[in-house]
Amino acid sequence: MTKVFEKTKMLTDVPFHYCPGCTHGIAHRLVAECIEELGMCDKAVGIAPVGCAVFAYKYFNCDMYEASHGRAPSVATGAKRVHPENLVFTYQGDGDLASMGTAEIVHAAARGENISVIFINNAIYGMTGGQMAPTSIMGQVTTTSPYGRKKELNGMPVKMSEMLAVLDGSYYIERCSLHDVANIRKAKAAIKKAFRYQMEGKGFSMVELLSTCPTNWGMTPVKACEWLKENMIPYYPLGVKKEGSTL
């Protein structure tokens, strides 16, 4: 029998702990496939965050770190400076990257650190049970914004990709979405481009992936994909925010 599909060897056989319908599984597979397709299996080093993807070190079949909350870009800096030939990526959620680790991500980008960041934005804290994230959208109900996110009380959601795109150190920043097949394919192309730019020594790259959290959003997986499309994309427009150096 001819084999028409095979799981990438850059994922281990450890079953994901992610909830049914969560897009982390898709994001993991895209990252792993890109590493394999670029022939970087023995050069890839990943940094897992604190949050839902905290166990990512069990799933990516390469050398891995588990970083403290928000500090993955600094850990990646240390790892990359010692072995510049490696393909170093962080995999961070919105609490990790856009709240606890804002200083680290901003300055890794400002330094033009030659690393790639996979940023999972699902507008909520998943691991701790559905609290408000810096990226929760206006009016979004979470366990710590039970009356919906309000501007007066909670401020406005942070657009990390736009924010990092204004830094001269950033080389490539793109926001993609994982809510349907066409967008998943675009996301994979973006991840591969980010990795390729790193291999070419271009500097800091980040791919933001709008993602779903059916469990904490309280929706079916299908409804969650619709909600993402209807509510997140209008606030977080997809597309390339920065590509190439202006200097």
């Binding site: 070190y57 390469c62 010692v82 901003v106």
Partner: protein
């Protein structure tokens, strides 16, 4: 190699380079600025890396990244900055990574001041960060010793896969003394086959630099491994200087800068017919308790002097365990005690006891 007159901070930086440190991650804070400044000059000359991080928090995590990649990595700071590093230090300890951290203590708590202090003893020796771990804490009392201990510190870190802290103070950092960089002895060091260097899928196990263990039995296993290592360090690595202790009746005890002054005090007291000696712990953890025990039958009392409200004092008392009085003199705020001030306090004790 000829002796060279150097500032403590610069000697520490050069010693680290001589010890093979090629990755330094720092952030400015007085009184340790000469360390990152020196590293920023020297590292590019020798193919090393200096990064000025955006914060101490970031710098210690860069150390985590570089140490996890198998390199000899170091960071330095002073008290408030060391507080910021504690989270990272705890992760480094649990992830069993070798690294060297320098603390040039200044006065505190809070922002405190930039003058010398020994107020971070508890933080360095009793934990600092969260969880059940120990740093190997080395306390130099001269520039020469600071250079020697840095070189040793990198070896100790590699041998035990444990972070090492060099606990100095603003005085050690800022004063100048002649220093000779001895060629570091060749010690057998374990291979870093655990490092995240990129994995070919066969030549070793996949490297995972991690401190997360959700299952109780896994965490217990890690803690058992750490405990066994701590026991071994306590058995093998205690270092202490005994100064004129042979016939001493008064034992002054102090570490770092204050120990030098304690020695001058002992000489002064001896010239007045009082048999004084000094116990100077060089490793603050592991603490050389046995040395104190040894003299409990011989001395009339112990006299602990610190630039703090009394921190090492607790370890001295535990070692003496009630067998002899332990007196204390604390100088805080940034001034350094003079031999005469210490002598006065000791004479008060002697007069009181008579």
């Amino acid at each position: 190699m000829a002796k060279k007159l150097m500032k403590g901070n610069e000697a520490i930086a050069e010693a680290a380079i001589k010890a093979g440190c090629r990755y330094f991650f720092g952030y400015p804070i007085t009184p340790q600025n000469e360390i990152p400044e020196y590293m920023s000059r020297r590292m590019p000359q020798i193919g090393g890396t200096f990064v000025q991080a955006e914060s101490e928090v970031s710098a210690i995590n860069m150390v985590y990244g570089a140490a996890g990649a198998g390199a000899r990595a170091m960071t330095s700071s002073s008290s408030p900055g060391i507080s910021l590093k504690q989270e990272g230090i705890s992760y480094i300890a649990c992830s069993e990574l070798p690294a060297v951290i320098v603390n040039m203590m200044r006065t505190g708590p809070g922002l405190g001041g930039i003058l010398p202090s020994q107020g971070d003893y508890f933080q360095a020796v009793k934990g600092g960060g969260h969880g059940d771990y120990h740093l190997i804490v080395l306390a130099p009392s001269s520039i020469q010793e600071a250079a020697d201990l840095i070189m040793d510190g990198f070896d100790l870190a590699d041998i035990y896969r444990n972070p090492v802290m060099i606990l100095g103070d603003g005085m050690i950092g800022q004063m100048m003394e002649p220093v000779e960089f001895k060629e570091p002895g060749k010690r057998p060091l374990p291979a870093k086959d655990w490092a995240a260097t990129g994995w070919d899928g066969k030549s070793r196990k996949r490297a995972v630099i991690n401190s997360l263990y959700i299952a109780a039995e896994e965490m217990e296993e890690v803690m058992a491994r750490l405990k066994a290592r701590y026991d071994e360090i306590e058995k093998k690595e205690k270092r202490v200087e005994e100064y004129m202790m042979d016939d001493a009746e008064v034992c002054i005890t102090a570490y770092g800068t204050v120990a030098r002054i304690a020695k001058s005090t002992a000489q002064k007291l001896r010239s007045e017919g009082i048999k004084a000696g000094v116990i100077r712990p060089i490793t603050l953890w592991p603490f050389p308790s046995e040395t104190y025990e040894k003299y409990c039958g011989q001395v009339d009392f112990f006299f602990d002097v610190e630039m703090s409200l009394g921190q090492m004092l607790e370890d001295v008392k535990l070692a003496v365990n009630g067998r002899k009085p332990v007196e204390f003199m604390g100088v805080v705020g940034g001034s350094v005690p003079t031999p005469n001030q210490i002598r006065e306090k000791i004479m008060e004790v002697i007069r009181r006891e008579k």
